[in-house]
């Protein structure tokens, strides 16, 4: 099994979710993160002092999938999250050793 960590623009969250669900992925876990990267932060002012906000709001979508869905999932997420501008984000792929569903105790692909 693989884990995808997708860092995407917040307003792309629902589209990415939709794309994954279209592949039959039922579950995922989302959190608010802040990202630094090629996308330049913007300068804000507060009472005359300029300050740069480097950490831009992003959403991290973590999703565990069976090995076989990997390619499709990466493509689906890429497509849904893409705008073509700096800051679209990344997908990181990890290998998962085991998955356990707490409710049932099922393990492995069953448990996803």
């Amino acid at each position: 099994m693989k884990k995808l960590e997708c860092i995407v623009r917040p307003h792309k969250l629902e589209e990415v979710k939709g794309a994954l669900e279209a592949l039959g992925v039922l579950g995922m876990t989302v959190s608010e993160v802040r990202g630094v990267g090629r996308q330049k932060g913007h300068t804000e002012h507060y009472r005359g002092s300029e300050y740069t906000v480097d950490f831009l709001p992003k959403v991290k979508i973590e999703v565990i999938i069976p090995n076989e869905t990997l390619q499709q999932a990466v493509e689906a997420v890429s497509k849904a999250a893409k705008t073509g501008k700096f800051g679209d984000g990344k997908i990181f792929v990890f290998s998962v050793e085991e998955v356990i569903r707490i409710r049932t105790g099922e393990v492995g692909a069953q448990a996803i």
Partner: protein, 497 residues
């Protein structure tokens, strides 16, 4: 030293004025043994000064309460919008009263209350610089009394029935004008350019509001034809509502509000604490709005009746919306209860001095139900109003104006408003209906013209990127809550657009 101190006493602290006044007023009392020229006259003068003093205190205190409504609007509107636009809404609501102050001072007041024709004021137009013999003491007071034969020397005769000083009249009317402007803010929130809103507010308070205001309160053709609106269901709330409707149409809905598939998406407000506190502020402010519109404390009867009517409609409005929401939407949505309370308040604003307390309760109840239906309706019409300003101010402004006719009580109108028309309910209703029509026609058309002029020149809507990121950063470079982690859902999903 002692004498220096006596001297310094008078100088040191400001209200020496008071001493003078007191002297003028009380001298005859203590000079009794000194055989005053006319003790009776002294007492009468004394009484006049006190009468005006009391009335001015009442007018100023109630005006302050209406001023305080700015805080209410700021909280309700920002609370019912998203965190990412909060600074922007607060800034708009804050600056709008500053803008109104200048605008109403420079031109609005003169246009509204200056002597003129049935359509606009023409005298004492600029900078409230016309003559007025208020505060009216003694003979001057008589001159302001319509039954008197003494001639009133001034150019604001439409508002010479209250003896309070000119600046007190000005301030009381100013806070009403500011209210009309602030209503617009909520309806156009989350997408309007800050600069465009600011300019529209100037124009609204300088031109649109005073013109219809002149028709009804400033000696114009509606007021003279039996149209009645005690504290401004039409003058203030409907006018603000029409201007807001024009803005909503000119701007279009927020991104993501109405899905491609026609789905109506909820965009929840970011703080129920702000919203609920805001409505409590407004409820309190309305105790200035309606009872203060007597512009005199009188012998207390009118202000007490009006206050109780106001409170009653607020209460039944809240309960009406509660029940309607509970039945229609399954659960009692707090934002609907809050809108219901405001709906009751807007609805009772015109009739509060013309109807009995029981009628007030019914008017409010109905207003509360109406606001829930109106919110649903505007969404079906794809008129995107984030805070329900149209449902509250426009719909219930109209309802209140008409309700005055439906529940018109000649006895109350004589005792409390002292503006009885002697018409039957159906006659009064027809008069009210006509007024609603003319006010709507002018306010909506004029607003539309201004909005489109702004749209063509400077543009009125922020860019798509700015709207998605939030207007706080885009328009002000500030964020409202930089220390808190904000969820991504406050950024509109593109899939919805």
């Amino acid at each position: 030293m002692k004498s220096l101190q006596k001297e310094s006493t008078r100088l040191g602290w400001a209200a020496f004025f008071m001493v003078l006044m007191a002297f003028m007023v009380t001298r005859p009392m203590f000079a009794q043994n000194a055989a005053p020229a006319d003790p009776m006259k002294a007492i009468v003068d004394n009484s006049s000064a006190m009468r005006i003093g009391i009335d001015t205190v009442w007018v100023l205190v109630t005006a302050m309460l209406v001023f305080w409504m700015n805080a209410g609007f700021a909280l309700v509107e920002s609370g019912l919008c998203q965190a990412k636009n909060c600074t922007n809404i607060l800034a708009k609501n804050f600056i709008v009263f500053a803008a109104s102050t200048i605008s109403f001072w420079v031109l609005g007041w003169g246009l509204m209350f200056g002597d003129g024709n049935g359509f606009i004021g023409l005298n004492g137009l600029w900078l409230v610089s016309g003559t007025d013999n208020s505060p009216a003491l003694g003979e001057a007071y008589a001159a302001m009394n319509p039954f008197s034969t003494v001639k009133y020397e001034g150019v604001y005769s439409a508002i010479n029935w209250t003896p309070v000083p000119l600046w007190a009249k000005f301030f009381f009317q100013l806070v009403f004008a500011g209210t009309a402007a602030t209503i617009v803010s909520g309806a156009v929130a989350e997408r309007i350019k800050f600069g465009a809103f600011l300019i529209f507010s100037f124009l609204l308070v300088a031109f649109i509001y005073p013109v219809t205001g002149h028709w009804i309160w400033g000696g114009g053709f509606l007021g003279s034809n039996n149209f009645r609106d005690f504290a401004g269901s039409s003058v203030v709330h409907s006018v603000g509502g029409w201007a807001a409707l024009a803005g909503v149409i000119a701007l279009g809905p927020r991104l993501g509000k109405y899905g491609k598939d026609g789905k109506i998406n909820a965009i929840p407000g970011h703080s129920m604490t702000s919203a609920a506190l805001g409505v409590l502020v407004l409820w309190l402010g309305w105790f200035g709005f309606n009872p203060g519109s007597t512009m005199s404390a009188g012998n207390g009867t009118a202000i007490a009746h009006i206050l109780v009517n106001t409170n009653m409609a607020a209460a039944t409005g809240a309960l009406g919306a509660l029940l309607t929401a509970w039945i229609l939407l399954k659960k009692p949505d707090l934002s609907m209860i809050l809108n219901g309370c405001l709906a009751g308040l807007v609805a009772i604003t015109a009739p509060c001095a013309f109807v009995s307390i029981g009628s007030g309760a019914i008017i409010g109840l109905f207003g509360g139900a109406l606001v829930v239906l109106a919110v649903l309706m505007f969404d079906r019409l794809k008129l995107d109003d984030p805070v329900g300003a149209l449902s509250v101010h426009l719909v219930n402004g109209i309802w209140g104006t008409l309700a005055l006719g439906l529940f018109y009580d000649n006895q109350v109108s004589t005792d409390i408003a002292a503006l009885a028309t002697g018409l039957t309910r159906s006659q009064q209703f027809m008069v009210q209906l006509k007024g609603v029509f003319w006010v709507g026609l002018f306010a909506f058309t004029a607003s539309m013209v201004f909005w489109y002029l702004l749209k063509l020149t400077m543009g009125i809507r922020v860019s798509v990127d700015e709207e998605m990121e939030g207007l706080d950063v885009g328009e002000h470079g500030n964020r409202a809550y930089p220390d808190f982690v904000i969820t991504g859902t406050t950024t509109i999903s593109e899939s919805r657009i």
